[in-house]
Structure formats: structure tokens, C-alpha cells
């Protein structure tokens, strides 16, 4: 599980690197455990980010951690100003993702976190799909002074994807549609695209967005399907920019922008949002039917 792996990695980093300081606000505090450079600021999320900025001002490498809505949304202006405007770096690591805590209700669901952070300049945003990818991305983040967001989820893929960046996993025909799965969306996307003549690619680092790699993977095709495990359309503008001079069609799947008043489980929500394999398949077939000369069910 990615969350447990993160706590292990952070403890290792605290032991190995004197620059690293863990900053928590009650969430994850016990799992990380006591350490001279682990600071629990209590349930004070504005302070969480402010303290991280102050530590960065002194040359430390703060790792701030909480549940996604409390890490990104509640202290959003602190993220914008204390870190961004002051040009200070930090690694923000969230758990909970879009609907991991579905039964907790809307207060604990944050499908908009990536879009919110992507609206601020200079953020590197990772959405790992597997604990092994997290390990690589987290350690790399600690070696820089950048502003890095790592979004953890209970959803994960069956296998890691090596290479870090944009990776083509399955190649369709030269003009086949490109299906791009982000982070833990890959597992249902692989099932949904089985037997379809499509190119399937994977991406764990969504900002900065790999425009050139997307163009290359699309080849002679003109149709892109984006599967993101958070707010639908979060990366649509990036794809428009990558293909600015090419007529293209885009289907952007993700969590819809509605006030979704349901409890239940993560899989319930994934299914309700059409982000399980069956839902992705149905959306994909509808999209491809509208472009039959270019794609469809393969032999």
C-alpha cells in the first residue's frame, strides 16, 4: 500500500538526510513516529504550510503531509504565497485522493486537488500508480529544492511502470487513438482497452506535462482519450497545447464536477463515475463509434 510505503520512505529520509524535516498536522503523525526532525503542528493546516515555508527559508527540505483536502485546499493561499510567491520549495504528500474515504463524505474527498495545484505556477505533480513508483519519485523530489506534490491513493495498479515519464505500454496501428491513463487509472484502463486497436500510454508525472511525448505517441492518429483519477479535464488544456496545430478529438474521463452526495466505498465511487473498467470501456466505445474510420473493435 502506497501510504504505508510513504511512511517508511519518510522515516528513512529523516535518518539519512539532515535537510529533511517532516511536518504533519495530526494525520500520519503516529505512523511516521517520533523523530527530532518530525514536527506535528496540531490541527493547524495554514501553519503546516507556513512552517514548511519557514523551514525552506532556512535551507531545510520540508515534507508536509496530510489528507488531500486539508493539505491542498484549506491552506491554498499559503501554498500560493508562502511557497510559490516566496519561491520556496517543499514536498507535499497527500493521502485520500478523490474518494478513498468515500464513507467519510464530501469533506474528505478531494477530486479537485490536482487542478487546484496545477493552476499555480512551478509545481511538479506526481500521481504514482504503484509503491515502487512512489519510491523513485519521492527520493528524486528530496534531491531538489522544487515545489513537488505527490498524490497517494489506496487505488493502485497491479504492476509498476518503470521509466517515470510518459510510457507507451501497448502500440496500436499508426492512426490508432491514444488512450493515456494517469496513475492508478491504468489498471481499469488496461482491462477496458483489451482487444481494441488503440495505443495505451501511462503517465505518473502530470506536471510538467510531456507535450512532445504525447505528440509522438499519437503518431498519425487524431483521437486522444485521457483517463485521470481526479477531476475530469484536469489535463485537457495540456493536450490542447500539445496538439495546438493538429485537428484532434479529445475525450477526458475523470471525476465529474458535481456535488456528489454519496458515501459507500472507493470502488462504489469509481464505478459511479464511470472510472472502472466497464465504465471506461463504455465511454471509449461511444467515443470511437463517432469516429469509425479511424478505430474500433480490433480483430
Amino acid at each position: 500500500m502506497m501510504r504505508q510505503r510513504f511512511y517508511e520512505l519518510l522515516r528513512e529520509a529523516l535518518d539519512e538526510d539532515e535537510r529533511v524535516v517532516a511536518v504533519t498536522a495530526e494525520i500520519g503523525t503516529a505512523q511516521i513516529g517520533s523523530h527530532p526532525r518530525h514536527v506535528n503542528v496540531g490541527i493547524r493546516e495554514q501553519l503546516l504550510i507556513g512552517v514548511a515555508a519557514g523551514l525552506a527559508l532556512e535551507g531545510r527540505r520540508p515534507v508536509a503531509h496530510s489528507y488531500a483536502p486539508f493539505l491542498v485546499e484549506r491552506p491554498y493561499e499559503q501554498i500560493k504565497l508562502d511557497l510559490g510567491h516566496n519561491d520556496l520549495g517543499a514536498v507535499l504528500v497527500s493521502t485520500g485522493a478523490s474518494y478513498d474515504a468515500a464513507s467519510e463524505g464530501r469533506t474528505h474527498q478531494a477530486p479537485e486537488d490536482v487542478a487546484a495545484l496545477a493552476a499555480l505556477p512551478g509545481w511538479t505533480i506526481h500521481v504514482p500508480g504503484h509503491p515502487h513508483e512512489l519510491e523513485h519519485l519521492f527520493r528524486a523530489a528530496l534531491r531538489t529544492d522544487d515545489r513537488v506534490y505527490i498524490r497517494l491513493s489506496e487505488e493502485q495498479n497491479h504492476a509498476r511502470v518503470d521509466g517515470g515519464g510518459f510510457t507507451v505500454l501497448r502500440r496500436g496501428g499508426t492512426a490508432a487513438p491514444l488512450v493515456l491513463a494517469v496513475g492508478p487509472s491504468l489498471a481499469p484502463t488496461l482491462v477496458a482497452t483489451a482487444s481494441l486497436d488503440v495505443t495505451v500510454a501511462y503517465l505518473a508525472t502530470v506536471r510538467p506535462f510531456p507535450h512532445a511525448a504525447l505528440r509522438e505517441a499519437l503518431g498519425d492518429g487524431d483521437a486522444v482519450v485521457l483517463v485521470e483519477p481526479y477531476l475530469a479535464g484536469t489535463s485537457s488544456a495540456e493536450i490542447s497545447e500539445a496538439l495546438v496545430d493538429r485537428p484532434h478529438r479529445l475525450l477526458a474521463l475523470g471525476v465529474p464536477n458535481v456535488e456528489f452526495r454519496r458515501y459507500g466505498t472507493g470502488p462504489d465511487h469509481r464505478s459511479a463515475h464511470g472510472l472502472d473498467a466497464a465504465g471506461i470501456r463504455a465511454s471509449l466505445e461511444g467515443f470511437l463509434r463517432r469516429n469509425p474510420q479511424r478505430a474500433g473493435a480490433g480483430a
Binding site: 495554514q46 525552506a56 520540508p62 499559503q78 504565497l81
Partner: protein
Amino acid sequence: MATMTTLGYADLPALLIRLTGDEKHDWSSISTLDTIWVLYDRVLREGDRFLLSKGHGPTAYYAVLAAKGLLPLETLDDFGEFDSPLGHHPDRMLAPGVELSSGSLGHGLPIAAGVALTGRRVYCLLGDAELEEGSNWEAVQFAGRERLASLTAIVIDNRSSTHGWPGGIGPRFEAEGWTSGTADGRNHNALEGALTAPRTGRPHVVVTVVTP
């Protein structure tokens, strides 16, 4: 070529006129002028940090930085213009000598708490109305409990808080574990005394009272 020089308190009005072009203004009415002057002239030592949380009306700050040779004098003449490093709220990436980009209220003290966690001496200047922002109190509570002794908050109290602070500002900090002092915000010796008072292993707040 940048002109760096060291000037005195008596030179500040001339620098403020260069900043604003206003020769009629009574400069003593700027609530932060004397406190920031005393900090830079008598209190701050090599390696200390000063974070202006209350980024509004930073002319006194710029004037003191220029007087102390931290900011080129000629930058004062273009205050607020498109190419100027000096705006109506300071930007540490643009203005030499500025240690915090501020302007939105309630951000400085939490950042100062992060600085103080490393043991660095840090002074953070706030306004009495700025204290209305709840983020300040997150920092006040935390710094008091964690005994961040290298942290000094300075609250310029010119009674601009709409709802005021019944019982006083200092006691609210004391309730959270701070020590507190007060000073006449125009009296340089009093300010120096309050800002350099012996510490007792706790964060300290100095409330400087300035008549509006």
C-alpha cells in the same frame, strides 16, 4: 551604478519623499517607522531575520533598508512603477534586503515559526488588525507550546482592529505560553529596551503602542 550608503534617522523623511513625492505628509504618522528603524539600527545582529508580515504601507521599511545601505537609493524614485523592484507590498525576489514577500495578512508569523524551529533568531512585525486573521493564532499557539525562544513578534498597535482586543493583546499571547512586553512606538530607547529584554526560554511579543 547602485548607490549604497548608510544614513541616519534624520535622513528618513527625505527618503520617504523620494518614495512618494509627498512633501507635506507628517512622516511621524507612519506607525511602523520608528520600530523598524530601531530594529535595524540597534537590535538586529548578523544572521538574524526580519519578516514584515504586515506588508501594507511598506514605505517605512524601504526607507530604512535604503538608509542602512541594503537597498539602492535610486530604487526609491520609481516606487510602484512597472519596472520597479519596490511595490506597495514587498517582494523578496525583487527587492534587495527584503526577506519575505508579504501583503496578504496573517502569513508572516507561521513562516517565522518555521524559521524559529531551526533556532534562528527571527523578528516578525504584525499589525493589531492583522491579528484578526486566524492563521496568526495557529502560530501563536504552536510557538508558545513549543517554546520557540528565538521568535519575537512585534505587534504595532494603532487601534485599527475593528472589534478590538478586550483584555489586551499581550495577555492573549501570554495565555498561549509567550512572554510579553510593551513599548511606546515612538520612543527609541523604550523600543530598544523592550526588543532586547532578557528572555526566559519562551517566544516573546512586544506590543508597540502608536497613537493613530
